[in-house]
């Protein structure tokens, strides 16, 4: 890569001084070593320190820097700058209240995550050593436990936009299935009861936006399908 100048159009809103949000047009010079969108944002911030965004790990594992990039949700730190059409349009994740610039209020997202009891439930007295689990049973958790709670999926999901207070959303449902699928967990029935509701689970209409945007390559739709199957089988 070479030295280059990149054009941005960034959603700006500071409730402390702005009456309404606006788009800021700004450009930045990049070094050959600047590879990811987050590298460019770091440079932009050195130029204009009022631009606010969340970030931490810069390697796609903490889930902080999810935003809407040229119309699609993604992580700034895993997005190659040179693959983006310019001006690069950055907006907050859709469907959640904006606090400032591209920083959104994630309260509703985490509320849904917490609503599925995201912890192992096993009421047997713990053995002295580890509980045993076969490699095959452990394998069932792959594609589920790796979620980084970035919210790219839920904020790309139309069902979540319309009912963020009632529909658990893809991230929460993926987490629910992560515990259902765990051979060490004893609360499958309780977990299914908790989701048996016209909204909590069944608002998912398999639109697959969630799969399309997940930066970790996870497949919430498949997990949701498996939960629906279990409910059906249970009903019979």
């Amino acid at each position: 890569m070479s030295k280059r100048t990149v054009q941005f159009s960034i959603y700006r809103y500071d409730p402390d001084k702005d009456d309404a949000p606006y788009m800021q047009e700004i450009s930045v010079d990049l070094e050959p070593t600047d590879r990811k969108l987050l590298d460019a944002l770091t440079k932009l911030k050195a130029k204009d320190d009022t631009i606010a965004y969340r970030r931490s790990c810069r390697e796609g594992i903490c889930g902080s820097d999810a935003m809407n990039i040229n119309g699609k949700n993604g992580l700034a730190c895993l997005t190659d700058i040179d693959e983006l059409k310019q001006p690069i349009v950055l907006r907050p994740l859709p469907g959640l209240p904006v606090i400032r610039d591209v920083i959104v209020d994630m309260t509703q997202f985490f509320k849904q995550y917490h609503s599925i009891k995201p912890y192992l439930i096993n009421n047997d007295p713990p053995p002295e050593r580890e509980r045993l689990q076969s490699p095959e049973d452990r394998e069932e958790l792959n594609g589920l436990y790796e979620c980084i709670l970035c919210a790219c999926c839920s904020t790309a999901c139309p069902s979540f936009w319309w009912n963020p207070d009632k529909f658990v959303g893809p991230a929460g449902l993926l987490a629910a299935y992560r515990f259902i699928a765990d051979t060490r967990d004893q609360a499958t029935n309780e977990r299914l009861d908790n989701l048996e509701d016209p909204y909590r689970l069944f608002r998912c209409h398999t639109i697959m936006n969630c799969v399309d945007v997940c930066p970790k390559g996870l497949n919430p739709t498949k997990a949701i399908g498996k939960i629906k199957d279990m409910m059906l089988r249970r009903a019979i």
Binding site: T50, A52, S56, E59, G63, I99, H114, L120, Y145, L149
Partner: protein, 594 residues
């Protein structure tokens, strides 16, 4: 100005591995606890740990905590305290098994036990040959661990203050710690958390260097706060450079890659570690491997146009093994080096990774400092664990996987000690009248200054100074100049100016406050490093070379002691290393070789 006061039994600053582990103890004991974090708990940097957590479970071959203890003492180049090391290695099985019970998705052996892989410096039978001691969840151990501990805290109803930044420690005239001042990032509101016990678990400060495996938020806030409150910092000259950061990007490639069979090669494809560590080879201790790599590069055997990196080769491994055991590494290679490691070797360089020093603690998690005649008197009401603390188990060089273990063991013991002290009757003490003043003054200074350098410029000047003057190899004259330069950076930082004046999510202000903390840590590092005139572990000086009298440049007669740096007047004191374990015999001083 009066500041709102929130009263808790305990306040924990930090919701990474150490903070969450402490929180479990306090919440489950029914104490009213506030956990503050700059980021949502699962975004803490523990999430990035890859390779594993050490415990002598012996799931695949014979192992023993005593062997683990030996390796840790040797790895520390004998600077680690042997009582704390025994305590940690003995507790390892218990805390790792607890994690499994919390639901952590460890990989499994064929008979269903926790999967273990070899890791640098971990050997069987007192240094004989590499042993499988690192308990792993693929190459996402930190992620699996942090999420499992967060989930356990959800179950225990822990009260979190997410995106709150602690600003300063509150101490009264008798030296007791009474809580912290903190700022809610969303509103800019400043509040006092008044507590009977205050636990610091603020993580590392790897961002003092230009090239680092650490997250942006790893800015040493706990150390800065402690320093401003008159608490010394221990062994700050010892920083671990991890052998395998992605060249250019700094992103870490776990040592687990070498544990699974990966090999380091120079420009002529030679497996050069055979020359530096005939026995352990690529799995020698990190300081040894990093120096070997730096030497290869210095002597012209590096790769690439600038000959400035070496290669980490896994192309001889079965792609299925890579996909199963190292899927995250493959992703990192593709994302940050543009290399698929199944087909091509990865470009790597030694990169700043871990701070061995920190806030001095006893292995019970209580913070200690010289008071009266006692070099290690308890600071009442103050506890610390994880990377911000120095127990000291890592001494002059940490073994891989011992840090996740450190945060479990000492996070738990700090929590237990706080519970014990609170149940033992430690009461709320009256807040001093000026309790919030320091924080308010710092904020108002940052908000009102004009004409100084920006935060980005100030931070860069600090990072360049550290990188150039206190890197993998250190030079006496460069360290001396480094001290002058870092004091200049500190002076310039007092003029640092921000343009953002908003109360809402003011990241410029947050970064200015973080930079002040980084500079405290950088100063401590440079001054402590300049003062230690020997080579030991990760601290290697050209003017303390390997000689017959001083093998590896280590000088035990003069320098077998911990550094204590006092920030108020940049003074240094030393305290003895505890060579006396709790129950076993002392591990005698020896020359370190792998």
């Amino acid at each position: 100005m009066s500041i709102p006061i929130l009263k808790f039994d305990a306040v924990i600053v930090g919701a990474g591995g150490a903070g969450l582990r402490s929180a479990i103890q306090l919440s489950e004991a029914g104490l009213k606890t506030a956990v503050l974090s700059k980021v949502f708990p699962t975004r803490s940097h523990t999430v990035a740990a890859q390779g594993g957590v050490a415990a002598s479970l012996g799931n695949s071959e014979e192992d023993h905590w005593h062997w683990h203890m030996y390796d840790t003492v040797k790895g520390s180049d004998w600077l680690g305290d042997q009582d704390a090391i025994e305590f940690m290695c003995k507790k390892a099985n218990e805390v790792v098994v607890e994690l499994e019970h919390y639901g952590m998705p460890f990989d499994r052996t064929d008979n269903g036990k926790i999967y273990q892989r070899p890791f640098g410096g971990h050997m069987s039978n007192f240094g004989e040959k590499p042993v499988r001691r690192s308990c792993a969840a693929a190459d996402r151990t930190g992620h699996a661990m942090l999420h499992a501990m967060y989930q356990r805290n959800v179950k225990a109803n822990t009260q979190f203050f997410v995106e709150w930044m602690a600003l300063d420690l509150i101490r009264d005239s008798e030296g007791h710690v009474l809580g912290v001042t903190a700022m809610e990032m969303e509103t800019g509101q400043i509040v006092i958390f008044h507590a009977r016990a205050t636990i610091f678990a603020t993580g590392g400060a790897g961002r003092i260097y230009y090239s680092s495996t650490n997250a942006f938020i790893n800015t040493g806030d706990g150390l800065g706060m402690a320093a401003r409150a008159g608490i010394p910092l221990e062994d700050m000259e010892f920083w671990q450079f991890h052998p395998t950061g992605v060249a250019g990007a700094g992103v870490l490639i776990t040592e687990g890659v070498r544990g699974e069979g990966g090999i380091l090669r120079n420009s002529s494809k030679e497996r050069f570690m055979e020359r530096y560590a005939p026995n352990a080879k690529d799995l020698a201790s990190r300081d040894v491997v990093s120096r070997a790599m730096a030497t290869e590069i210095k002597e012209g055997r590096g790769c690439g146009v600038n000959k400035d990196y070496v290669l980490l080769d896994v192309t001889h491994l079965d792609p299925a093994t890579i996909m199963k055991r190292l899927p995250g590494i493959r992703e990192i290679g593709i994302q940050f080096a543009g290399v698929d490691c199944i087909k091509e070797p990865l470009p790597v360089v030694p990169t700043c990774h871990y701070q061995m020093g920190g806030i001095p603690t006893h292995y019970s998690g209580r913070v200690v400092m010289p008071q009266g005649g006692d070099m290690s008197a308890v600071v009442p009401g103050f506890y610390a664990g994880g990377e911000c603390a120095c127990a000291s188990v890592h001494g002059a060089n940490r073994l891989g996987t011992n840090s996740l273990l450190d945060l479990l063991v000492f996070g738990k013991s700090a929590g237990d000690s706080a519970v014990e002290d609170l149940k033992g009757g430690r009461a709320h003490r009256d807040l001093p009248k000026d309790a919030g003043d320091l924080a308010l003054e710092r904020i108002s200074a940052i908000d009102n200054r004009k004409g100084g350098a920006s935060v980005a410029e100030t931070r860069l000047a600090m990072q360049r100074t550290m990188q150039d003057h206190a890197g993998v190899f250190r030079f006496g004259d460069m360290l001396k100049q480094g001290v002058t330069k870092i004091l200049e950076v500190e002076k310039a930082a007092r003029q640092m100016e921000i343009k953002d004046k908003s109360k809402v999510w003011n990241t410029a202000r947050i970064e200015a406050l973080e930079t002040e903390n980084l500079i405290e840590v950088a100063k401590a590092t440079m001054i402590s490093a300049e003062a230690r005139k020997e080579s030991r572990g990760a601290h290697v000086r050209d003017d303390a070379p390997d000689t017959a009298e001083f093998p590896n440049g280590r000088n035990d007669a003069e320098w077998l002691k911990h550094t204590l740096y006092f920030p108020q007047d940049n003074k240094i004191m030393y305290k003895p290393v505890n060579m006396q374990p709790l129950t076993v015999e002392a591990i005698e001083l020896k020359t370190r070789s792998y």
